[in-house]
Amino acid sequence: MDAGTAFALDGLAKRFGEVRAVDGVSVEVRRGEVVALLGPNGAGKSTTIDMLLGLTKPDAGQVRVGGGSPREAVDQGLLGAMMQNGALLPDVTVGEIVALVVSTHRNPLPAAEVLARAGLTELAKRRCGKLSGGERQRVRFALALAGNPQLLVLDEPTAAMDVDGRRAFWASIREFADTGRTVLFATHYLAEAEDYADRVVLMRHGRVVADGPVAEVRAAVGGRVLKAVVPGATESELAALPGVTTVQVRGGRAELACADSDTAIRALLAAHPLTADIEITALGLEEAFLALTADEPEGALR
């Protein structure tokens, strides 16, 4: 951990009774990175975020945020967070709740600027209890911005937002990140991870199963799918070709999942010169995500 590190999780573990919610998570994030934390429900994302924020004490391991503890980072306004279903006060107006959280910080952004950045200026006089789901998310975002943080942590930020709201939200995140600040967001929307993150951390069963740039995580599952019409070939013949991992034949069309599609296509054309209608595609993050987080035995993963 050095001055360029935004935060570092080192060997974090947390169990709830018999369940190992988080089981040895180590992640170091550099300043200015935008990182997506992906994983199915129960993967341990929220518990990891709770420990990063200092809301839950880890059973083992260490959290450092900007050189100190999470609590110190919160006190200094370095760390802002938007929690899933974070509570608002239903009888208080948007302007009042923002002014309140601003007032708790030592070097906050002015309340008017917080409202503007979260797109809430028009809603300042409305009570929180009267907001739509998407509007409430924007208020939570505003509260996270109030202390003018260096690191923004967002748990499922765009849940309950409509398409326009989502676009506007990511535009303000982009604006925030462009000033060299760090963002970590947990999401179920893979497209968001693909579109907005520099780096993806995939979790499953409390562990990190992949961590790297989007392209690298995609490649980690063995890359490409080869589809073609192969007259007269059986599944077992195709599966025996070099570079092929699994085969499916559907409606006369073979689908070959390939670890090395270049070797596979050469071998295929040599053995079956009549092969036609060839198509080779890279796995999307969606497929990579499914492959990496599917409930398989541990060893099958990498």
Partner: protein
């Protein structure tokens, strides 16, 4: 202590229907009713009944209002508001102090409204007596604010609201604030000593009857302040988990 939070809390309490209807409306209506029933009859303590009724119902309203702080705290706890605050530099004690001071702040208008109704219906005291009684009652509300807080840290919003509401009846009735104890059986007078509301009434009325025992009432209320305060300190430290 955060003044922005304090003023927001006071605003929130005052604009809630609970405050207008129950905290102010109930004791006011009861005073207008009971004050008329007993009128200027002189009670055994030598005070006119309407004066005693006014002081006790003001005490009832203010202590009830302060106790309801707990319901708000429990509701916020259930909603996760305290978790939200943990993501700000505000600390637990800052939150608790705001809760107690705001409860005290809104107890004052409750006392004033009932006192004004008393003044309007002919309750008589000297100017300094009005001041002393008001001041003693107001300070006497402090244990109720802290007691409310302690209750609020143990339950969920709905439960605590129901429990507090149910508590207010025995506190008012058995503590002798609703009906003068001298018209009730002796055992009820004895029982009343176990309720903090009884001692709040004493703190308000003893300065008028020149009873030398005011300090007993002050001490007992001090105990009713200390115990919940210790519970709050112990309990709040543990209370940071996700609900």
């Amino acid at each position: 202590m955060n003044p922005t939070y304090l003023s927001l809390e006071i605003k929130r309490i005052i604009r809630s229907p609970q405050f207008t209807i129950f905290t102010i409306g109930m004791p006011l209506a009861m005073f207008l009713l009971f004050g008329q029933i007993f009128g200027k009859l002189v009670a055994p303590d030598g005070l006119p009944s309407d004066l005693g009724t006014m002081v006790k119902l003001a005490a009832y309203g203010a202590s009830g209002g302060a106790l309801f702080t707990g319901t708000r705290v429990a509701q916020e706890r259930t909603d996760g508001w305290q978790r939200q605050l943990r993501l700000t530099p505000m600390r637990g004690p800052g939150y608790l102090v705001v809760k107690v001071i705001s409860a005290m702040a809104v107890a004052l208008p409750v006392l004033l409204v009932v006192f004004l109704a008393g003044l309007a219906t002919g309750v008589h005291m000297t100017a300094s007596q009005w001041g002393i009684v008001l001041g003693s009652l107001w300070l006497g509300v402090l244990p109720f604010a802290v007691l409310g807080l302690a209750i609020g840290l143990f339950g969920k919003g709905d439960t605590v609201g129901a429990v507090t509401g149910a508590l207010m009846m025995p506190l008012g009735m058995l503590g002798g604030l609703w009906i003068p104890l001298y018209v009730l059986p002796d055992w009820m007078s004895t029982l009343a000593h176990f309720f903090p509301t009884y001692w709040l009434g004493r703190v308000g009325l003893d300065p008028l009857t020149h009873t030398s025992g005011t300090w007993v009432a002050v001490l007992v209320l001090g105990g009713w302040l200390l115990v919940p305060a210790l519970i709050v300190m112990r309990r709040f430290r543990l209370d940071t988990a996700r609900l």
